[in-house]
Symmetry: C2
Subunit: 223 residues, 2 copies
DNA sequence: CGTTGTGAACTCATTCACAGCT
DNA sequence: AGCTGTGAATGAGTTCACAACG
């Protein structure tokens, strides 16, 4: 039967968006240095096929020049826009433990356009302390603070058993995206996105890959 | 294109293996309590379709009973074996910073069958200190220690600029799988697997999902 | 009944191969 | 010459729908 949707061009899959992030990282390192990158270079750096790179980039518009390649600077701009990081994002963090402290020290956070503007916790001993220049506020302040700070994203670094209720609070405070480090799947209202960062599952993936000696991931090894 | 060993036994894709981990987590919570789980329950818990669950589980052998469901205990066993976590794994960690300290405190590590047996760092001030009960050894000990401890996996929590050379050292020390927290792609010899845990890219994925209001992830909200 | 397992259909993603521009 | 963009072919992964079975 006839083709309800013969048109393949349209939306970016999640996996595709992840590749864009990787192209962006590589293009950024070249942006100052030189003028152009080829699909073959990008492919080698990221570990995908050159055809894949061209297909991905072509879906963003005509930003290559035939016979020449892609202008590094222009590519960075286009990728930033396509991913949604052509602006800065304001982020709050809930759950100030070791992991949070590690994240706060991580420069890549701010380097990639994410500004941590608020810290929250429920432990009386932690509330009021200052971590990496930011005071830790009680959870009861969350909703008001999100509004005041105009934060849109939240990082969730609380224990598993608290994760769902904290996620509920973050969603109803108006945050639109949550990065969840707790090893549980959290449910959120429609309109809120969640990116899980689940170490337990990643560990199991590593065991799986080793146990069955999968070549793994972004393109294997030369040698 | 460049893949001399495409899929040895040709079985489970990476994405499928990740779903298995999620089924396992859910089945574990039920294993003591009740007898059986249905594909619909699993699907709801993990956020995939029931048909997907059945297809995945059927690929592991006939472990369901028609008209009844899957025995929770048996499912846990089968999933453990399929993923490769029906045994314990010995893990060393290189780069003892805040992130490492957070990981060391994370109980899920040992709960999932991963034993951290060695810590390594190159900073003289850190070497010799004891963190969570383990002494931090110099990098020069790595190769001998990996052999002595019979470690197979490594966690890489060093800064980006050191990541590749540390990865080289870890691979030549005989580790077969690396969990890489550094925000760079590392190259490893054939036979070594890498699971990247890249916060910068995950952050960008979050921005992407929110910016284009993707429902995201494992199927979110029904309504 | 209810629920699994699975051929078949289908959708989505990737690679091929080459036309078209520089 | 070199390199991109893209139809067409291929492949991977997912859902449909129902037979098979307790």
């Amino acid at each position: 039967m006839p083709d309800p949707t013969p048109n393949p061009d349209g939306k970016l899959s999640r996996a595709a968006a992840q590749r864009l992030s990787q192209y962006l990282r590589f293009a950024r390192t070249l942006a100052e240095a030189d003028g152009t990158v080829s699909s073959v270079e990008l492919a080698g750096a990221v570990g995908v096929s050159a055809a894949q790179v061209r297909r991905d980039l072509a879906s963003l518009g005509h930003l290559g020049q035939r016979g020449v390649g892609y202008d590094a600077g222009g590519l960075v701009e286009a990728l930033r826009k396509a991913i949604g990081v052509d602006r800065r994002w304001r982020v709050v963090l809930v759950g100030v433990g070791n992991l949070a402290r590690a994240l706060l020290k991580y420069r890549g956070f701010v380097d990639h356009g994410f500004d941590l503007v608020g810290l929250f916790d429920s432990a009386p001993g932690t509330i009021g302390t200052v971590v990496e220049g930011l005071p830790v506020e009680p959870m009861s302040n969350l909703a008001a603070a999100v509004k005041r700070l105009r934060a849109e994203l939240g990082v969730l670094t609380v224990p598993a058993d608290a994760a769902q209720s904290v996620a509920d609070a973050m969603a109803s405070a108006g945050l639109k995206g949550l990065m969840n480090f707790a090893p549980v799947r959290i449910r959120v209202p429609a309109g809120v996105s969640v990116v899980p960062v689940d170490l337990a599952i990643q560990l199991e993936q590593l065991a799986f890959a080793v146990h069955f000696n999968e070549p793994d991931e972004t393109g294997v090894a030369k040698e």
